[in-house]
Structure formats: structure tokens, C-alpha cells
Amino acid sequence: MSAVAEAPIATAADARRAGGWLLVATAILLSVWVLLPIYLLIVNALSSPEQVTAFPKRFFPSFDVGSLSFFINFAGVARALWNSVLVATLTMILSIGFGAPAGYALSRFDFPGKGTFRFMVLMTRAFPLPLLALPLAVMFIRTGLDDTAIGLALVHTTLALPFAVLITFSLFSGIPVELEEAAWTLGCTRLQAFRKVILPLALPGIAASAVFAFTISWNEVFAAAVLTIENRTLTAFLLQSLGESPLYLKFAGGAALVVPALIFIFAVRKYLFAMWGIANR
């Protein structure tokens, strides 16, 4: 009797345990899917050129910076790196300059079409860049914006802006409006209240949003490749020149691209979660 009674319970526990294993297995699989290429990239970037081409492959880096130093000294890399930083910085300034006020307005004011506006901000991400690239290139050539840092930064700003708006929107919404009102009753103008109360509280989040915009620009390759010729950014430069380069150079270039972006994203991850409303602080 007792065996019959226990059987369904045991099955339920088994099912739960199996479910738990499945979850763990999926998590491991996805982590490996993401982390393994990055790991191999770094191992190979930190190995000497001979080790990279040798067989069997090594799974531990020899910390040989030969490939990396060769890559850094490779003609055009320094310039491309500078262009990347310049474009990304411009993108960061533009997206926060436009995005933060928009986020503030969305969180503090009720205006007609607010819902539509929020939706449209997201919809800008629905246009595939390749579709826009050709008309953009033509327009840029006509206006003289082609092959300039500011021109590319404008395109990257369109890509980064929705995120800047949404992150700062959730950021400002998390700051009680009463704090601002208290500041007004204590003698502040709207601008003073923003500067003395809201800005100090929002600054870490705004900085995170800025870093994210920087990373979007840093990683973007398509528009960069189409719209620049002389003033290539690092991504566009690598796409163009590493195709014919030896393997170890590809690894070094890849690492130079991936590692800064990874560090940036890791630093601001908690604010990116906030964007989706998971947690604010």
C-alpha cells in the first residue's frame, strides 16, 4: 500500500529534480556558447604567432604580447582606434544630450501622444540599417557629411538614442517627483532643482547610459564600413584589412574590439536591467 502511495510523490520530486537539471544544463550551455569564443579569442590573442597556428591548440595563454604589439603597431590601427574613440565619444555626447532631456520629459510631463512617442522611439530600431545605408550614403555625400566623424556619429546616435531615452526615462521615473517639488518650495527654480537634487541622484545612471551609447558606437560596423573611407573606425578598418591578415592578427584585432566593450557593458549592467524595468537600484 505504502509503495503505491509514495510512487506519485517520488515522480513529482523526480520531475522537479529533472527540471532543475535542465535549467542548470541550459544555463551552462548558453554561458559556454557566449563565453567560449571570448575565451579562445583572448587565449589566442595572448599567444605568440607560432602558438596560434600550431596544432594541437592551447587552452591556456602563454601571455606572449607579440601579436598584440604587432597589431598595435600595424599601419592604420592607431588612426582607426582614434577614429573609433572620437566617433563613440561624439555619439555618447549626442545621445545623452538628446536622450536625457527626452527621458526626463517622458517621466515628468503628460503630453498628448506620449504613448505613441515612446513606441516610435523603439520603432526606430525596427529599420534594418542595411536598408538605410545606401540612401544615407548618397545623402551624406551630397551634404558633405560622408567620411567624417560627426556624420558617422549622427548615424550611431540614431542607433543609441532609443536606449538613452528609455534608460534615462526609467532612471528619472525612479526619483520621486516630491523631491523636486520640495526643492521648488525651498527656493529653487525648475533648473536649480534639477541641478541640485535630480542630477546628483541620476548621475550614475546617466553615466551608465552614456557608456552604453559609447559601446553601441564602438561595436557598430555596417554603417562605419559604408560611410567612411579614409577615416575608418576600428571595426570598419578590421573588417577591411584583417580579411587578408594572418590568423594571429585577426585574434589580436578581435580582442582589441571585444574586450573594451565587454568591460563597459559589465560596468553598467545594473542600469541596463533597469531599462527593462527589472530593478532600479
Binding site: P176, E178, E181, A182, A183, T185, L186, T189, K196, L201
Partner: protein
């Protein structure tokens, strides 16, 4: 001198009218409580006085100056918010000093005033802390100190005690009354808690559906409600209402009792009496006991009178049983009458 005059103030939010043509004057140094259920417009009215909300109509005057076109900072007010609104990135000292620094007072005076108000609110040991390190009650003290340090003409308080637990609320209530009386400011205080209103106010303005129904002293509001709503809102338990029909010689018949009443053209009006203003005896309203709640000092008896609920507060030694038929005699000078159509007192 900071008397406040609210003249014909109305506020509409889209199609919803939050305030209809409100008129109210508040004397210098008066403690005025706006009392009403949530959604009655009391907070909206306070925010209009503060300048955080613009009236759709009407004028607001503070100290003989028309202020409804001025921003909050130019109105000579300070405000205490329901959720305290203590700035989390500043220490308690800097919170209290915030308004003084905006006024560009010399450092020495800022320190003096901060220390004085902190002492007044018993938070002098917390000056170096941040808001996150304070309890709710301490935060409330900081918020009040920050308002007092401004030495404003008018202090506006929006349910300042409602986020505190019951015991703390009682303690803070008495303390606030003392501190505000000493500060000689005019105060407008918004609450939905009638006990808070009764205990703090010089005058209570009872609000209902965007109108001020009655503005009078607490005793007056309690004894002589100007409208049925006031009687049914204030008092715990509230007033009892029984329909009355016209009898001969200008008297009214109420649940088996004939009482002299007001002159009225109507055939039916409403009789009203507070639960504590009836005595059990041989004469009076016919009542059947439904529920008995002994409360210690007295006993709350819920009865059936003319098919409606009637609550009576009787002496605790009264021996009543569920199902008993009682005769409840209303004290003649405490009987009130209301017009059922206009709901106003007769």
C-alpha cells in the same frame, strides 16, 4: 502677518472637476485642517496654495499678496510632504540647510538656524546622517525641521503623519501642535484622519467631492454639522440618521416618537443624533438590539430602528442582551435635522 484667502478656486483635470469654486479664508497664525476622504480635493487645494498646481479659476492671496501666478519659491511657504521628500544625497544638516543656502544666508546663520530647528525637533544627534540611515519617524522630523528652518509665513502639510505607525503618530501629533503653535506660522494641514483633525485644528474645513462643506471649529463641526455628510463622516461611530414624517402642530414623528422640530414644507426630513447623545429609558425611540460591543469605558450597541442601523453608546454597566427591545431617549438639545434633498442642516 500671513492670512490666506482662497477666492473661487476651481480645478479641472481634463473632464474631471477636482475642485468647484472653493472659497476659504484663513487667519494669521491659524491652524486650518482640510479634512475629507481620499479624492475629495483636499490635497489639490493644498498644492494650489503651494503653487505646485495651477488653478483653472480663482485667486490665491497670501499675506495680502496675490500669489496664484507666482512660482512656489516666491510665495513665502514651506511644505511637508506625505513621503517626507528628504533629499537622499544630502546629510540631515544639508537637508535642513537647503532652503537657507538657496536664500544665500551667511554660513554662521545657516548653522545657527539648522542647530536650533534640529534641537526643536530632537534630531540634533542625526545631523551627519543620510536619509537612508533614518527611520520613518526621524525622516518626518527632518522634513518638518527643514520647513521650520525657512521661518516661512505659511506651512503646508500634506498628510505628514499618515506614513507613521499608530504610536509614533500619536507622539508626533502632540509634538507638532506644540512646535507649530510656538512658531507662530499660519498652517494648512491636510488629513483624512478625523481624530488628527479634531486634535490639531483651530478650524476644520470638511471637504466633500471638491467642495468645502463646512469650515468651523472642531467642536462646532462635531456638534452642529452643516450637512448630512459632515455628520456621517465625523465621529466614531458617526451620527445616526432616521427618517422623520410630518405630524400635527409642526412636530415630527420619528420611530414611534413625536418630537418638536423645524419648520419645513417637506413631508419627510431626517432626524439625526450622535450615538453618545441617547439614554436608555422607558421613553424614546423603539430599538431592537442586534450587536453588543463592550469597549471598556462604555458599551457600543448596534440596534435596529425603523429598519435602519442605529448605534448607541451606553454606559458599560447597562445590562442589555441581543434581541432586547430598548427605548432610546435622545437628548433634546443634541437633536439635529437635515433636509434629505439638499442634505443641509435645518
Amino acid at each position: 502677518m500671513a492670512e490666506i484667502a482662497i477666492k473661487g478656486v476651481a480645478k479641472r483635470f481634463g473632464g474631471f472637476t477636482a475642485l468647484h469654486q472653493v472659497d476659504l479664508s484663513i487667519a494669521d497664525q491659524e491652524f486650518m485642517v482640510l479634512l475629507g476622504a481620499s479624492g475629495c480635493g483636499k490635497t489639490t487645494l493644498l498644492r494650489i496654495v503651494a503653487g505646485l498646481e495651477t488653478p483653472s479659476h480663482g485667486e490665491v492671496w497670501i499675506g495680502g499678496r496675490r500669489v496664484d501666478n507666482l512660482p512656489p519659491r516666491e510665495r513665502g511657504i514651506a511644505m511637508v510632504f506625505q513621503n517626507y521628500a528628504v533629499f537622499p544625497h544630502l546629510t540631515v544638516f544639508e537637508n535642513i540647510a537647503f532652503g537657507l543656502r538657496m536664500k544665500k544666508l551667511p554660513q554662521q546663520e545657516v548653522e545657527q538656524r539648522v542647530n536650533r530647528t534640529a534641537e526643536l525637533m530632537h534630531i540634533e544627534q542625526l545631523l551627519k546622517r543620510y536619509s537612508g540611515q533614518l527611520s520613518g519617524g526621524q525622516r518626518q522630523r527632518v522634513a518638518v525641521a527643514r520647513a521650520l528652518a525657512m521661518e516661512p509665513d505659511v506651512i503646508l502639510m500634506d498628510e505628514p503623519l499618515s506614513n507613521l505607525d499608530a504610536l509614533l503618530r500619536l507622539e508626533m501629533r502632540a509634538e507638532l501642535k506644540g512646535v507649530l503653535a510656538a512658531s507662530k506660522t499660519t498652517t494648512i494641514y491636510v488629513t483624512h484622519d478625523q481624530v488628527e483633525a479634531m486634535s490639531l485644528a483651530d478650524r476644520i474645513a470638511v471637504m466633500h467631492q471638491g467642495r468645502i462643506v463646512q469650515a468651523a471649529s472642531p467642536v462646532e463641526v462635531y456638534r452642529n454639522p452643516a450637512a448630512r455628510f459632515v455628520g456621517s463622516f465625523i465621529g466614531n461611530p458617526p451620527m445616526n440618521f432616521i427618517p422623520a414624517t410630518k405630524a400635527a402642530n409642526g412636530s415630527w414623528s420619528v420611530a414611534g416618537l413625536t418630537l418638536p422640530g423645524p419648520k419645513s414644507d417637506r413631508q419627510k426630513i431626517e432626524f439625526a443624533i450622535r450615538p453618545e447623545d441617547v439614554d436608555a429609558g422607558s421613553e424614546g425611540l423603539q430599538a431592537t438590539v442586534r450587536v453588543i460591543e463592550p469597549l471598556g469605558p462604555h458599551t457600543l450597541v448596534t440596534c435596529d430602528v425603523e429598519g435602519g442601523l442605529f448605534r448607541a453608546i451606553l454606559e458599560s454597566n447597562a445590562s442589555v442582551q441581543v434581541g432586547d427591545h430598548l427605548r432610546l431617549a435622545p437628548k433634546p438639545d443634541r437633536i439635529r435635522w437635515f433636509d434629505p434633498e439638499t442634505t443641509n442642516a435645518l
